[in-house]
């Protein structure tokens, strides 16, 4: 930091001092080349504004076309043809209404009382949390089943040509069938409830993990195998300490795609086979024409998906911290 403020040749404007002090309080690493390169925290507000501009504009537009109060505006009041073209709040509720509904949806239904249990439990006793938890549980269980079967099979198929020849034809036939197409069969086999959902979700996760695991093992660079065998690695150790880690970038890609497909499957499965969960909730809301609740549910689904993806991302960059492609920020 001293190099910023004390070095007269660094052509930083005087206003930087404040930010520099603030930055050194935040224990930023010393910046060296400050003269021409702009400091990352200097244009952070600008970047934030850029990334918020389009979403905010969309929200405003949405509010504008859907808010019933807008239709009372003097400018519009006398143009019934124009007003008739704007969607009704029934079809497209304004964002403020959706937000209100979303808060209502997430709020506890009962007032807090101590004998019901802890405060935190009460806080998350609303419908939304029940639904989100039910959906999350299904994705996790289904994913663990699907990936748990795909990973060992993929490792064997990748490592052994014989195993590959045995299983590949069947898998090639089954793979193009979208998991959604299994819905009728899954209900026939498992009835309603969690079981058909787990089945569909594990199917959805299975193929991406399998395919990527196979190519991960098959694409292990020969030089690693040679080096390992030169050092005396054979059999299981060779597999566990060399082939498996070398294949992890592929396997994790598969897992990430797999959890995405699993997430699609959970919503679909809930729409047809269960009576709770986020997917079920938005179908239910449609029957009552609660468009605000549908949208609130959709947003919840989006947030849950984002959470899952972020989690996978973290896991990825932790497990691949050795990888050249892994993000540079994680190397300390």
């Amino acid at each position: 930091m001293n190099s910023v403020t004390a070095n007269p040749s660094a052509q930083t404007p005087a206003t930087t001092d404040a930010t520099a002090v603030a930055a050194s309080n935040a224990q930023q690493p010393p910046a060296v080349a400050t003269a021409r390169v702009s400091l990352p925290w200097q244009n952070a507000p600008a970047k934030l504004a850029q990334s918020l501009a389009v979403p905010l504009l969309m929200l405003l537009l949405w509010q504008f076309i859907s808010d019933p109060r807008v239709k009372e505006w003097p400018l519009l009041k006398h143009h019934p043809a124009l007003i008739a073209r704007l969607p009704s709040a029934q079809i497209l509720p304004p964002p403020t209404q959706v937000l209100r509904k979303w808060i209502e949806y997430s709020e506890p239904t009962q007032p807090y009382s101590a004998e019901q249990g802890s405060y935190v439990r009460w806080l998350f006793s609303g419908e939304l949390w029940d639904d989100a938890f039910a959906s999350l549980q299904r994705v996790v269980v289904g994913f663990i089943i699907g990936a748990g079967l795909a990973l060992p099979l993929g490792l064997f198929m990748g490592a052994s040509d014989t195993v590959y020849r045995f299983f590949n034809p069947l898998l090639q036939v089954l793979r193009p069938i979208p998991p959604i197409a299994y819905i009728p069969l899954s209900i026939l086999w498992f009835g309603l409830g969690n079981k058909p959902a787990w089945f569909l979700i594990s199917l959805g996760a299975f193929f991406p993990v399998l395919v990527n695991t196979i190519s991960g093992v098959r694409n292990v660079d020969g030089i690693f195998l040679r080096a390992a065998r030169n050092l005396g690695a054979r059999g299981f150790t060779l597999f566990w300490r060399v082939i498996l880690p070398a294949a992890t970038p592929y396997i994790l890609t598969g897992a990430r795609v797999g959890i995405g497909v699993a997430f699609i499957c959970v919503i679909v499965a809930e729409m047809v086979a269960t009576n709770n969960g986020l997917g079920w909730r938005i179908t239910e809301a449609r029957e009552f024409f609660w468009s605000d609740k549908i949208i609130a549910g959709m947003i919840s689904i989006g947030l849950l998906g984002l959470g899952l993806d972020t989690l996978m991302d973290r896991l990825n960059s932790y497990l691949l911290r050795w990888h050249r492609g892994a993000d540079a920020g994680a190397n300390n």
Binding site: A228, N230, L231, G232, T237, P245, T248, W322, H323, N331
Partner: protein, 271 residues
């Protein structure tokens, strides 16, 4: 050196290696009629222009690729597979990127099921010797080329194998580090009586370290000449004897280099 020459440690008899492209049309004869005996405790350098088959020969001795014809014997057994009795330093380093520096060096010892304390002591000592202690917990992606090369050397030395196969192990190092590692390698070689096959295209390097220098021809790779170096160690690269040998070797290698260039010129003209 001349006392125990009864059974060679490595025997290369009539070895040929032909690479064929997938469709079988393009054929590269990388090695032809290689006959070589390497004796216990010898320090051998293989010298030749780029692409003459040095790595191919070393890979064959290491057991990675079977020769098209001929026979290879190492440590009393016919070479059929790689093994830790012929520790190798790869030209491409071949460090495991998912292991830290420390784990890379320790891996071979762990595979040999050595006791933990022994592994720790040995790896720490090697890392210290190769000036890598500060980087013990780093992954290879964070290392410079020269550091990677030093890790590869440490990994190879950790094995304590009787034969060391080194494919341009000092190629990516600066001159000073190279000289100190050459001295270190000579010390290890003398102290532990290893047999070393060392591939290089550094002429002065080969004169500095080798007992015998195998000069190879370019396409097909054959042995052009075997030059014994009898100068007493430590050798002085500025001495007139050293320089005389260097001139002679430069001439031999240059001949091959020129032939190679002429070949290429003819090939491009023919197209």
């Amino acid at each position: 050196m001349t006392t125990k020459r009864a059974t060679p440690r490595i025997e290369v008899v009539g070895v040929q290696k032909v690479f064929r492209s997938r469709d079988g049309r393009e054929v590269v004869q990388a090695l032809r009629d290689i006959n070589l005996e390497i004796f216990d405790g010898e320090f051998i350098c293989i010298l030749g222009p780029s692409g003459c088959g040095k790595s191919t020969l070393l890979n064959a001795i290491a057991g990675f690729s079977r020769p098209t014809a001929g026979r290879l014997v190492a440590n009393g057994r016919v070479v059929t597979a790689p093994g830790p009795d012929r520790a190798m330093v790869f030209q491409e380093y071949a460090l495991f990127p998912w292991m830290t520096v420390w784990d890379n060096v320790a891996f071979g010892l762990q595979l040999a099921c050595k006791p933990k304390a022994e592994i720790r002591a040995k790896v720490d000592a090697l890392l210290a010797k190769l000036a890598l202690t500060d980087f013990r917990d780093r992954f290879p992606k964070d290392l410079s080329g020269g550091m990677k090369q030093r890790v590869a050397i440490a990994r190879c030395l950790a094995l304590d194998s009787p034969t060391l196969l080194m494919d341009e192990p000092f190629g990516a190092l600066d001159a000073l580090t190279r000289r100190s590692l050459q001295d270190e390698l000579l010390r290890i070689w003398q102290d532990f009586r290893r047999t070393i096959v060392f591939v290089t295209h550094g002429i002065d390097e080969s004169i500095y370290i080798a007992d015998r220098i195998i000069v190879m021809t370019y396409r097909p790779g054959t042995i052009k000449q075997i030059v014994p170096i009898t100068l007493p160690r430590p050798r002085d690269p500025s001495s007139p004897e050293f320089n005389a040998i260097e001139r002679e070797l430069t001439r031999l290698v240059m001949e091959e280099q020129l032939r190679h260039q002429k070949d290429e010129a003819r090939a491009t003209a023919g197209h």
